[in-house]
Symmetry: T
Subunit: 69 residues, 12 copies
Amino acid sequence: MSADNVYKLIELTGSSTTSIEDAIQTAITKASATVRGIGWFEVLNTRGHVENGKVAHFQVTLKVGFTLE
Amino acid sequence: MSADNVYKLIELTGSSTTSIEDAIQTAITKASATVRGIGWFEVLNTRGHVENGKVAHFQVTLKVGFTLE
Amino acid sequence: MSADNVYKLIELTGSSTTSIEDAIQTAITKASATVRGIGWFEVLNTRGHVENGKVAHFQVTLKVGFTLE
Amino acid sequence: MSADNVYKLIELTGSSTTSIEDAIQTAITKASATVRGIGWFEVLNTRGHVENGKVAHFQVTLKVGFTLE
Amino acid sequence: MSADNVYKLIELTGSSTTSIEDAIQTAITKASATVRGIGWFEVLNTRGHVENGKVAHFQVTLKVGFTLE
Amino acid sequence: MSADNVYKLIELTGSSTTSIEDAIQTAITKASATVRGIGWFEVLNTRGHVENGKVAHFQVTLKVGFTLE
Amino acid sequence: MSADNVYKLIELTGSSTTSIEDAIQTAITKASATVRGIGWFEVLNTRGHVENGKVAHFQVTLKVGFTLE
Amino acid sequence: MSADNVYKLIELTGSSTTSIEDAIQTAITKASATVRGIGWFEVLNTRGHVENGKVAHFQVTLKVGFTLE
Amino acid sequence: MSADNVYKLIELTGSSTTSIEDAIQTAITKASATVRGIGWFEVLNTRGHVENGKVAHFQVTLKVGFTLE
Amino acid sequence: MSADNVYKLIELTGSSTTSIEDAIQTAITKASATVRGIGWFEVLNTRGHVENGKVAHFQVTLKVGFTLE
Amino acid sequence: MSADNVYKLIELTGSSTTSIEDAIQTAITKASATVRGIGWFEVLNTRGHVENGKVAHFQVTLKVGFTLE
Amino acid sequence: MSADNVYKLIELTGSSTTSIEDAIQTAITKASATVRGIGWFEVLNTRGHVENGKVAHFQVTLKVGFTLE
């Protein structure tokens, strides 16, 4: 992070049927379609849905930071 | 929540002179005027103002989740 | 609480379309059908679902304490 | 809150057989009998007692702020 | 979650020598053998054991929710 | 803890008129009467009752872990 | 706790050269000299001072509750 | 805060080479260029970068509240 | 802190138009007018009010400890 | 953990371009080069950097425990 | 603590088969063999191992502060 | 932070009679005398000592990160 910038932090929840890492990437891909300058993220919590005794999908909530232009 | 969606979470504070439930609904009504797809909320804190020994209004801060289209 | 007893604490989520208090009572009524000696509760979080800009139901998660017989 | 004042915050627990809002008001009414200038409150936790599977009373612990004269 | 149900939440720790996701599935598979209606989970913490400088196994503690029938 | 096991964690409150250590042992003794394989505990909070300016009893709430067979 | 009372909670730190339990009692004894109706306490943190590699005294900070008359 | 308003809270990180107060003002100045009605802030965390044993800049993350018009 | 003393901790909010340090001193100056033996403080949170895009004043909430005589 | 040992806990941040598990192993591999007797870890937080809408690397901060010889 | 010193804080886990106080002293005795100037500690958590329904040993994790010379 | 590095985080408390920023710099200056590669810090808490109603010195506890070479 540069000393001259102001950053905004938003919260997003992404999902994936395969992994926690993939759920993180899903959220960031979606956000990148409308927000420029995303630089980092922090995992706030990791949840998931279960169907018939199997993890159906992981849901990861992130705090995502980007430069406020 | 569907496995295919990405959700955004925002924080709002709603007020009511009558009840905590009404303060929650006030915040959600306001947000629904500009955001589509609000699906759930979580209460973050409950505060209020006091005048002459009476609760003048309740102020409830919510995290509100909606589908990022 | 008596000095001679051991207590167990369990977590429950109750729902209500009308109020937070009713959601608490719903959880305790259900638990009382199978557990004897429920003595107190603590609210852990208050959430809810929203449909068309209206709170559809409140969901209150409780820690509930009862005597371990 | 004014920029010139110093505020003190105290913790109180109020009870009610009917609602969370009433338990809050009960605590503030009691405190107002001896403290002047109560301006706001924040709910710290919400607990309650259960008798025979019914909520007997709600107990709400508040942080209450007032001007230090 | 339906507005008519009451849910119970329990805590479990599952292990895996390969991944965090696998440790989660291990805990849910075990619980599903005795509990019906498991619908979701939340990761509470992620720990692990180390032997000779290698992660020997991951241990993930979950809160798991299911319908109280 | 073994890599092959799944553990369940429950919360208990034990009491003692003499010490915090004794209140912990009281809760574990009680739980051991019905649950096999208790392996560890963690203190969640320590409270107590006071009568006439003396600690009447200590109440210690534990998270207790055991093997899910 | 009775449904009709309002309680006040204060924070105190007591010390002891011998034990955590004794530090708790020290704080409650002191408070009881000026406050009536102390009914319970909760340990907020446990600290201590060390001199020459020995614990010189334990310092326990408590939240103490009493009836607001 | 007025009883009739709904407020939105956003998170921002501002920087300054000189002080924590200046980093706060930097974030608020930037946000005020696009958001009207900012009324208050709360510091969430204070971090900083170090170069050659000197604090190069402070980074303060704020929650900022404004009226939702 | 001496091993023989009992300390009381109170919460205060002080304000300043210039700095966080000045807001701390403002609260302590006010408290010292009525309480003897204040020995230390801990910052609990730092907030502030904004007017026209400028920090109008900082508000710092402190836990303040003093000897209970 | 043996009843006779004293353990030290240190905090480390490891990185990986591929997975959270790999970032954990990276930190432990590095620490094992200078510290003997590492026995377990706990994940404190999971962050990452983003470049052009892709997770560039995961950064996992661990608490790592080892025997103090 | 003196205004002129810089302190370092480290985390240690000590064990004891008899008491929490003894586990604290065990950790500090061990640390004092290699670190000079230990001045205080804070208990971070209290855990223990159970064998055959008895507490086999208490494990107390401390933050320990000492002067950085 | 580079993707190839492992970082260590340590806790330090620095003091200053003048400001929070100066207390931070004091801790970092001291640490830089023995540790190379300090890159960032995070404030964990801000405390201080009071003498005769004046803040005698600020004490700021930091988490400090540096490259593990």
